[in-house]
Amino acid sequence: MSTLITDDTQGFGPDNPAPRIDPPRARTRRSPRATRTNYEMYAWVFMRLSGILLVVLVLGHLLIQLVLDGGVSKVSFAFVAGRWASPFWQVWDLLMLWLAMLHGTTGLRTIINDYAQRDGTRFWLKMLLYTAAAFTIVLGTLVIFTFDPNIR
C-alpha cells in the first residue's frame, strides 16, 4: 500500500536522532527584549498618513506629466523649468520627494526586518538603505531649490 522512503545511511536511531531544525529566530523565554518605545507605532501611522497624501501627490503628478496637455511628449527642460518657477510646484515636488522616500524607506525597513535572519545582515542592509535614502533626499532637495533655468 505504501512505502516510507528512509535513508538509513546516516545511522540515525533512538539514541542518535537527527538534529532539530528550528525555524529562524524562534521565540524563547528571554526574547524578544523589550525596548519600550513608540517607534513602531509612529512608523505604522506614518505609513498610512503618507500613503493618503501620496495618493493625491503621485496621481496628480502622473496626471500632469503623462496625460494632460499632450501627454509625456510635452515634458522637456522648458516644461520642468516653467513648473519649478512657481513655489507651489516646488513645494508639491518637495513633499512628494520626501514622503515617497520616507514611505518607501520605512516600507523596505519592514521587509528587511522580515527577511534578514542574522542581526548583522539586518543592520548592514538597513544602513545601506538609510544611506541611499538620505543621499537621494538631499540631492533631490538641492535640485528643487537650486534649479537655475538659465544654464548655458
Partner: protein
C-alpha cells in the same frame, strides 16, 4: 440505526454492514512523515483507505494509525473541536482534523496532511508548541486587579461582557499563528493567538492590566508587525475575527498614546 454504522458489526447485522460499506469511498491521504530516529528528511507517504466521506480527517488518521501504520504520530484529545490539539495543514490550509469532513476536501484527489508551519517538527504531525505558548504567557493571559478581593463575584454588564466575547472563544490551537507569513519569517512576532488572548483581557471591564499588556504589544514584535493579510481570520476554526481583534488593539494603542 445500524445502517448508519460505518464499521460493519459481526453476526446478524452483517447485511446492514454491507449497506454501510456502500457509502464508503476510496480516498488517498498524502501525509508528511518525519521521524528523526530514522532519517533527517521529511517525506510524503500515501495511504489509500476505504472510508465514509462523511467522516472527518481525524477519523481517517485514526483508521490509518490503528489499521495500517501504528507509527503515524499526531496529537488529538477531545476529537470535538474544543481542546485545540489537532490543528494541521490539510490541503494547504490550517484546520482542525476533527472538524474537517472528508467530503468537503474533494477526496477524489489525494488529501495532503502536514504539520502546521513555522514551528519545529518533532515527529510526523507533531510540532514543538513551546514558542507559541511562550508568546501566550508573555501577554499575561490572566485577570490582573488591584485593591481587595470583592466578597462576591466581580460583576459586569451584559454589554461589557459582549465587548470581548469573540476573543473568549480561543482554544489555543495555533492555526492562526502558524498561518501568518510574518510569524513564518520571524518567530519573535507575538502572533495572532497571543494578541487575541491579550484582547480578551484588555477589553474586559473587570481587568486592570490592560495598560501593561498594551505596552507589551506596542513593542517591536507586537501588533505593529501585523500586515492585515487575514490568514489568521481564515484559519481560525472557532470563527474568531482575529484580524479585527488585532486592529482593535492597534486602535486602542493609538488612541491612548496620542
Amino acid at each position: 440505526m445500524s445502517s448508519t454504522l460505518t464499521k460493519p458489526g459481526p453476526g446478524p447485522e452483517a447485511a446492514a454492514g454491507t449497506s454501510a460499506a456502500a457509502h464508503k469511498i476510496t480516498a488517498t491521504f498524502r501525509i508528511r512523515r518525519y521521524d528523526p530516529e530514522v532519517s533527517d528528511k521529511a517525506v510524503w507517504q500515501d495511504f489509500t483507505i476505504e472510508i465514509d466521506p462523511k467522516e472527518r480527517v481525524l477519523d481517517a488518521l485514526h483508521q490509518i494509525k490503528w489499521d495500517v501504520d501504528g507509527t503515524l504520530t499526531f496529537r488529538r484529545s477531545c476529537a470535538h473541536g474544543i481542546c485545540g490539539s489537532d490543528a494541521m495543514r490539510i490541503n494547504g490550509r490550517n484546520r482542525l482534523a476533527c472538524k474537517t469532513l472528508i467530503k468537503d476536501l474533494s477526496p477524489e484527489k489525494p488529501i495532503t496532511v502536514e504539520p502546521i508551519k513555522g514551528m519545529t517538527v518533532l515527529k510526523d504531525l507533531i510540532v514543538d508548541m513551546e514558542p507559541f505558548f511562550q508568546a501566550y504567557r508573555d501577554v499575561m493571559p490572566f485577570l490582573i486587579t488591584t485593591g481587595n478581593e470583592p466578597t462576591r463575584e466581580r460583576r459586569q454588564s451584559a454589554a461589557d461582557r459582549e465587548r470581548f466575547d469573540d476573543t473568549t472563544k480561543c482554544i489555543l490551537c495555533a492555526a492562526c499563528t502558524s498561518s501568518c507569513p510574518v510569524f513564518w519569517n520571524d518567530g519573535q512576532y507575538f502572533g495572532p493567538a497571543a494578541i487575541v488572548n491579550a484582547h480578551r483581557f484588555i477589553f474586559d471591564s473587570r481587568d486592570e492590566g490592560g495598560e501593561q499588556r498594551l505596552e507589551i504589544l506596542n513593542d517591536k514584535d507586537g501588533v505593529w508587525r501585523c500586515r492585515t493579510t487575514f490568514n489568521c481570520t481564515d484559519a481560525c476554526p472557532r470563527g474568531i475575527e482575529v484580524t479585527k481583534a488585532i486592529q482593535e488593539v492597534k486602535k486602542a494603542l493609538i488612541t491612548r498614546r496620542f
